[in-house]
């Protein structure tokens, strides 16, 4: 064995992009660096959740397949008004263990006076496209309605999907979601928490097709050629 061969006593026990299970030994040796969803135990690197193995040079991580939404600053989410207090609105985030709160001053770009009837702005049961401004150490979430694209969602349908599929549904540079919007002529808003709002002014049928294609992307997210598949599906099913 040469000096290099002796150093390379590390070995990979699983293939890149394969699915791994908690406790599965992914690699042996000290050459690899365990990051998200993996941990080191002596000489082994072990998966700490169900996920897709991602090996980038020496960096090993797992990409989750499922799991609840953990809120991050600047995320756009779709939440439902749960309660109204003096100081603002309490928001149910769905798919998430934590609630959000919109303070009076963050409810609108125009000034809301204390004592105003907050129901006029957002009422209990209404859905809002809102943005995460801060996540505290205890996972308390501050939300705002001030900003472009942030609004109350009126007519339309709300569906729930796996939050980990959101990037796939949006697609590279928004390509997948633009395809679906274009072909079905629907307005679609995707919350990072896996709540999706779909609305068609003129065709209720195409609205349902848009929903079906979103669910298809979520289900078949691991397969290749997905954009072509979805395009074919849309062409076959939409009503002009």
């Amino acid at each position: 064995m040469t000096k290099e061969e002796k150093k390379e006593s590390s070995e990979l026990l699983a293939e890149n992009k394969s699915i791994v299970v908690p406790g599965q030994v992914i690699a042996k040796g000290m050459n690899y660096l365990p990051t998200e969803g993996t941990y080191r135990k002596e000489k082994d690197i072990i998966a700490s959740r169900m996920g897709i193995l991602n090996i980038n040079g020496k960096i090993i991580k797992t990409i989750p397949l499922k799991g609840r939404y953990m809120p991050k600053k600047n995320d756009l989410i779709i939440g439902k008004v749960r309660d109204i207090a003096m100081a603002g609105w309490s928001i149910d985030i769905s798919n998430c263990a934590y609630r959000g709160f919109i303070r009076l001053e963050d409810g609108s770009s125009s000034y809301i006076e204390r004592g105003e009837d907050l129901k006029r702005y957002f009422d209990i049961g209404e859905y809002l496209a809102t943005k995460v401004t801060n996540v505290s150490g205890q996972n308390l979430i501050d939300l705002t309605m001030k900003g472009p694209n942030l609004k109350k969602l009126k007519a339309g349908r709300i569906i729930k999907i796996n939050p980990h599929k959101v990037p796939r549904i949006i697609g590279k540079k928004g390509s997948m979601i633009s395809l679906i919007k274009r072909k079905t002529n629907c307005e679609i808003l995707i919350g990072q928490n896996g709540i999706v709002w779909v609305y068609s002014k003129d065709s209720k049928y195409n609205e349902v097709i848009a929903i079906e294609s979103i669910k298809k992307v979520a289900e078949e997210s691991n397969s290749g050629g997905l954009t072509e598949k979805i395009e074919k599906f849309l062409d076959k099913n939409i009503k002009k």
């Binding site: 699915i19 299970v21 406790g23 072990i46 959740r49 609840r68 263990a97 691991n222 397969s223």
Partner: protein, 235 residues
Amino acid sequence: MVYKKRYDGRDFNETRPIEAKAGVIEKADGSAYFRIGGTVAYAAVYGPRQLHPSHLQDPRTGILRCKYNMLPFSGRGERIRPAPNRRSKEISMITEKALIPLLNLEDYPNAVVDVFIELPETNAGSRCAGICAASIALADAGLIMKDMVAAVALGKVDDKIVVDLDYNEEAYEDGDVADIPIAMIPSTGEITLLQMDGKITKNEFREVLKTSKKTIQKIVDIQREALLERYKVKK
């Protein structure tokens, strides 16, 4: 009288046939079906989610809450009246203790991970089947887990060390019987559940422990397959 052959003809170190499936309950965050012989357990995981009532919330960590329940038609004899009883409450608690060491609950302060275990059919080994199903369901939910955990009832019937006692063996009357449910993390051999009912010597017990690791590993292999099966590309 000596226990020469098992009632169902199995080898002494053989479990009953096992069937495991992941993701069987669509509304749950994670779920599983686990059958061992005539004992079937469903497990559903919801969480991390809001914990009610709020006075139970712990700002330092999430909590795990397990509920084990046998359905009214799942027992060998009379109907079981629905309602939590002392036995199911104890089993719920030891199930929690069997699963907690696997999880990173500090990642979810103030929240709860709920695990519901329901058994529609039982023939001994129900708490172990529940733990096996729960372990698959927790992994299916995408939670951070350092490993899988599996459980099985080992023990002795008369003069033989046996694996996976069924109801008839538990009820054996012609000699000593010991029923030992064990939950173990196979990679480290750490034990997360250990109970015993019956009569056994220290040496016999050591024999039982020696047998446990191999059996648990076999079950974990089946649990793993069940999880991977979910994502196999369907043609």
